[in-house]
Every structure is written in structure tokens, then in C-alpha cells.
């Protein structure tokens, strides 16, 4: 007989939100032979293999560009036989639209893409799935990110990370750039995802299938790469600089690099700063290495 407590969905049905970095500034700067088209072909194979694993698996791709981000592909819509075509077409539309939007007030300087926006979109999508009923696949987010972190997005990204943590959605990150990403290290650390920066980008597909294709259920039994050290440094709210030492509002925990009369986030008035030898109202946030 079938067991009494038949689960609604088996453990390994997953909803994979893939955030793809389409920042042209990053892709043009890659010195290695790893081009965007190579990346895409490996990514598409990976998406196909995820969808192959279980007929209930669902993949959603969100492109995070320089000026905007948007859903590029959703496997729950449309037929199965023209996946690649639809995805590529949407991606092309997205890139050209992204190019048209010219971001004038670029706070971060050049080179970072809208990770915060893409993360929020992914979380919104997941929330919608959660609310659609008791039957839903296990969601997770995979960030394929290459461009450098934009400190201006610090608050938004941290908020997304905590909301992901709250809704038990792990954020996996695969960094394809040359430098480690502090944001993604923290995101994966806090939400219990996997952080990995592949050494050989030509074998990206193998990295993706061995590490990131693992469903949440199987992760309990497997040894996946562990973060060797996470950079916990925060960005200040006033100048968006990454700081090691700073001031923190005792009411709303906003971080500032210099003393202010009043908190710019919650409006509470601060007292006078104490002399620099006292460290009572200074919060030390040291990198944990």
C-alpha cells in the first residue's frame, strides 16, 4: 500500500531562480577566452539538465543588466520544445532595452550590475509561488555574477538576503568574475547556500552540474564546497563606502562612516561623539578571515 502520509511533492522538486549577469561592461572586460556566448551555451545546457531531472522542476531566468533587470525565461510558461529560442530572443530584447536606458545618476561608478533588483524580483516570484497554495516546489536562487559589487546597493541587497533567510530560500552564488564578491559571500553564508568561484571557467558546466544542480534534499548528505572566509564588512549608508569601523544607530542599526547629528534613516537624534579613545559607541565590524 502507499504510505499514509504521501507528500504532495517529492523532496527533490525544485524551483530554480537563475540570476544572470548581463552587464556589458563586465563581459567586455573579461580578459580570458571566456566569452558571453560560451557562457550562455554552458548555462543553457545547465538549464536543460535541471528541467530534465524532474518534470515538475521549474526554472526562471532573470537577467540583471547595467540599468535594469527583467524576467527572461520562465519554464512554466510556453512549450518545452523551444526553450532555447525563446530564452535567447528575450535575452536579446532585454540587452538592447537595457542599453537604451541610460543611467545618469550612477552612484556606484561603472561596472556593477543591478544585483539587488534581480534578487528582489526573484524573491517576489518565490513569494508568489508560496502563496499559490500548499503545492509548491522547493525554491532556491542561483546568482551567476561576474561584475564587481556596487556598494550603493548594500542596503537593498542585505534586505533581500534577510528576507530570503526568513523565507528559507538559499542563495547559491557562482562568481564568474576575477574577484570574490562580498555581497554574494554574505548572501550564501547567511541563507545557507553554496558560494563558489570556479577556477576554470571553461568547465563551468561541470561546476554547475556537480555543485549547483544538487537539490536541497540531497544537500543534507553531500559535501559541497564550503566558504573559506566570508568578508563581513558593511557599507555605510551615507557614502556607500565599504568600511571596517563606523558608527551605528542604536535604534535602527543604520551604519555611518562619520558622526551625524541625526540618523538619516529613522530620524533619532544622536548625542555628541565621545573622544576617540573610547570605543563604546563604535561598532567594530571586522572581516572574519
Amino acid at each position: 500500500m502507499t504510505s499514509v502520509t504521501t507528500k504532495q511533492y517529492t523532496d527533490d522538486v525544485s524551483l530554480l531562480m537563475v540570476l544572470v549577469d548581463t552587464n556589458p561592461l563586465f563581459w567586455s572586460s573579461t580578459t580570458t577566452s571566456f566569452s558571453f556566448s560560451k557562457f550562455l551555451s554552458q548555462l543553457l545546457s545547465f538549464l536543460n539538465s535541471i528541467l530534465l531531472l524532474n518534470q515538475l522542476n521549474q526554472v526562471v531566468v532573470i537577467a540583471s543588466g547595467f540599468n535594469s533587470c527583467d524576467y527572461v525565461y520562465d519554464s512554466s510558461l510556453g512549450p518545452t520544445n523551444q526553450r532555447v529560442e525563446t530564452l535567447l530572443q528575450k535575452l536579446e530584447e532585454f540587452v538592447s532595452k537595457d542599453e537604451e536606458l541610460n543611467r545618469d545618476d550612477s552612484v556606484d561608478g561603472i561596472g556593477s550590475s543591478l544585483l539587488s533588483g534581480a534578487l528582489s524580483m526573484a524573491l517576489c516570484y518565490i513569494q508568489r509561488v508560496f502563496r499559490s497554495g500548499s503545492l509548491h516546489p522547493q525554491p532556491r536562487i542561483l546568482c551567476l555574477h561576474g561584475s564587481q559589487d556596487g556598494p550603493g546597493q548594500y542596503v537593498a541587497i542585505m534586505n533581500s538576503i534577510f528576507s530570503a533567510q526568513r523565507s528559507m530560500v538559499p542563495i547559491d552564488s557562482c562568481v564568474i568574475g576575477s574577484q570574490h564578491s562580498t555581497f554574494l559571500q554574505q548572501a550564501s553564508y547567511i541563507t545557507g547556500g553554496v558560494y563558489l568561484r570556479p577556477q576554470h571557467l571553461d568547465g563551468l558546466f561541470q561546476y554547475l552540474t556537480t555543485v549547483f544542480a544538487t537539490d536541497l534534499h540531497s544537500r543534507n548528505f553531500l559535501q559541497l564546497p564550503k566558504a573559506s572566509g566570508v568578508d563581513f564588512r558593511a557599507s555605510c549608508f551615507c557614502h556607500k563606502k565599504t568600511i571596517e569601523l563606523g558608527y551605528i544607530c542604536s535604534v535602527c542599526l543604520s551604519i555611518f562612516c562619520q558622526h551625524h547629528k541625526k540618523c538619516s534613516t529613522c530620524g533619532s537624534a544622536f548625542g555628541k561623539p565621545q573622544t576617540s579613545d573610547s570605543t563604546t559607541n563604535q561598532k567594530r565590524k571586522a572581516p572574519d578571515t
Binding site: M1, S3, T209, F221
Partner: protein, 452 residues
Amino acid sequence: MPQVRIIAKNFMDMVASLPAIKLDKLYENAFICEAILRSLPPLAKKYVLQLLYIDVPVTANSLQEWVLADGASKHRVAVDRLIQLRVFTETVDRKKEATYRLNPMFQMNLREHIVHGGVLPREPMAANITVRLPSLEELDNYAAQQWECFLLHLINSAEAEVTTKSISASMMKVFQRGLLSQRDREGSRLTESGFQFLLMDTNAQLWYIIREYISNSEDRGVDSADLISFLLELSFHVTGEAYNINTLDDVQRTTVKDLADLGLIKLQQGRKDSWFIPTKLATNLSISLSDASSRKQGYVVVETNFRLYAYSTSKLHCEILKLFSRVEYQLPNLIVGSITKENLYKAFANGITADQIISFLQQNAHPRVAERVPSVPENVTDQIRLWESDLNRVEMTPAHFLDDFPSRDVFEAACDFAREYSSLLWEDSKKMRLIVKTEIYAHMKEFLNNQK
């Protein structure tokens, strides 16, 4: 506990039990590779994906290194399954080290799939040729209705004769085998397994029937491997799309007709062509049993006072409820009954167990009560179990009674002899009497003769 023996628990167990040559031939079909991959345990899926682009054999150790200590048993299960399905071939080299590699055919098909994406087994027909396709809802209703009809027919051939159109009598015999006991005088009667069959969920029932259908295929001159591959292929068709029947060969066409009777497929006839539309039942075929995403909505509410309310219009539901409860009255959309001792005793006598009844009530709980824990009141479930154990208070064992032993020594020896075979049920050493199980009686007699 007597059970409907689900020897192969799902499609893939059946595939796994095929001989190696047939299995290798099956892997030539890309859809089968896909279905097999999907049926694997999660860890096994991961291994396949990991090894997909590795052409050299991989040592067992390097695979094991990925697994934490807790997962060792899961790892074992996954690898065993892969070897059983011949997806992995295991070779042990001179250093006694096991290496695995993927079945090349399987590997090639999956690589193809990953690069090119999924393809459909056949193109659906253009919308302008087909007249009017049923909506998904209509199709689901059709499938449910057809299946219900079939079940009614199965349990109650005489009554359902009018309603069902055309399930061929010989096919019906195949399905009824094991579920009904044929008695000439009083007509057919449900067997124990038949009762249990009715309490299973649709997926399990469907699988049972399909398994009978497949295992019977050789008698009809159809190769079971061909049939399996067609059924699996069928599950990759899109629900609700029309497919031209001319794309099928003769064997498949007869199969399609049989499946239409079961509600797996809807056949439609146009002016020139005819086509088949797979229903949800067909596309769910390759999904394993535990996966109840196709589950129907429940309809039963059980109250603490043993009253039972079933919001259903179905005659079949009423029949099923009658198996273990007294139906008191029936309104157009509601069946009201109560679970009584007498009815449960009747059910137990028919070979249904308390656990099966309880699991049926839980699985079919009305959405309003399904959210509650427990969905069936505890006092009711406890009482059902108690009534069942009431029946088992007296255990009967056929036995023989021995007395009039010539001496105490012979008596003691006989007792020891019986004890040795753990067949001594009772002894009275004062009056030198003992009772032994029947199966040992012949040996006992021999033993006593030798003693004299």
C-alpha cells in the same frame, strides 16, 4: 497481512526487472532514458549528471568522497539502483577497486537532450484540422469518469454493463484476475485484494492495472519491452493536445484503443483523420507512486461521533464507503453514513485492515478537515484499531493432543522433542499430557515409536 502484492512498485521497477538485452535496447529510445533518469532517487540523478561528460570510468571512492557520513546508506541505494537499471556499469579492476561508468547509449541520449533541449515524441496536429478539442477541465472530467466507470465495471460487472460501452470482455478478465473470484453460482465476488484495491489512490490503482496489462502482453503477442516503451513515450505527450493516430503502428493502435477504455486517452474522429488526446492519467504514468501531485480533492469528513459525511455525487465513492460503513442517507451531493462495529467487522472479514481504512479516510479527507492534525479524529482511528484487535484476541492453531504416556521419561523426551521444533503449545507434567502443533505430529509419532 494479506496485501495486493505490488511486486513492482512502479514502472521503473518493472523496467529494472527486464533482462539485460531488452533493457539495453530500451535505452535506444531517448524518452526512456529521460523517464528512467527522472525516476531515480535524487542522489542517483546527481551522479548521472555529474558523470555525464566524463568518458573514463570513475572510481567508487571518488564518488563516495562527496557523501557525508549520514548519507552513506542513501549513496548505497542510489548506486545500487543505477547498477540495477544498467545505467552504471560496474567493473572491478586488478587492485580490487570498483569503477563506474555510464551506459554509453544512455549517456549519448542524455547529452543530446541537454544540448538540444527536450523534443516532443510527435508533433501535435494543427488546430485547423482538429474540430474542437476538449478543454483541460473537460479532459480531466472525462478521464475521471472513464476511470470510475471502469472501476464500477470491475467490481460490479452486472450493474455497470449498461453504462460502460466497450471494455472488451477478454481485457476485463485480465484486469479482474486476482481482484474478483469467479464463482459460477453466485456470480463474481470481490476478493481480499479486490477490496484493498478499491481503497488505493488512483495512481496506485492505475499502476496495478497497467502492470497486469503489461505482464499479460506476451499472451496477446505483443513484446512487453515495446509496450513499456510506448507507454513511457505516451507519458511525454502534452496533455490536451491532439496527435494523429496515423503516426502509430498497428500494435500501438490497438494499445491506444485499450487505453482509451481506461480513460488514459480520448479518441476523436474528424472528417478525414482521427486523433488521440492523452489525458492526465497517461501523462502521469511515468511518475512514481509517491508523487501525488495528481491527487484529487478529498471529500470525506469524519466526526468524533463516528458519523461520516462524504461530499460526493459519485456512485463509486458510495460503493467504497459501503465497504466499511453504514450509509444512512444519500442527498444529491452528500452521502451520510456512520462507522459501526458491524460494518467494520464485515470489512475485516473481507480482508480489509484497519490501517487501510484509516489511511483511506486520511487520504480522502475533505479540504476543510485535511488541514487539521489529525484529519480523522483520534478517537475514531483508535476505535477502529481496537475493533480490529478485538477480532484477533483468539489465535487458532491446528494441534494434536497426546496423553497416556507409558512412563515419565518418554513424556519428558516427547516434550523436549516438541520444544526443539518450537511446536510445544501446552504441557501438563502431572497428568502427563501435552499438545503439539499439527505439522510436527507425524514426526512425533515416529519419534514415540522409536522410543518404545
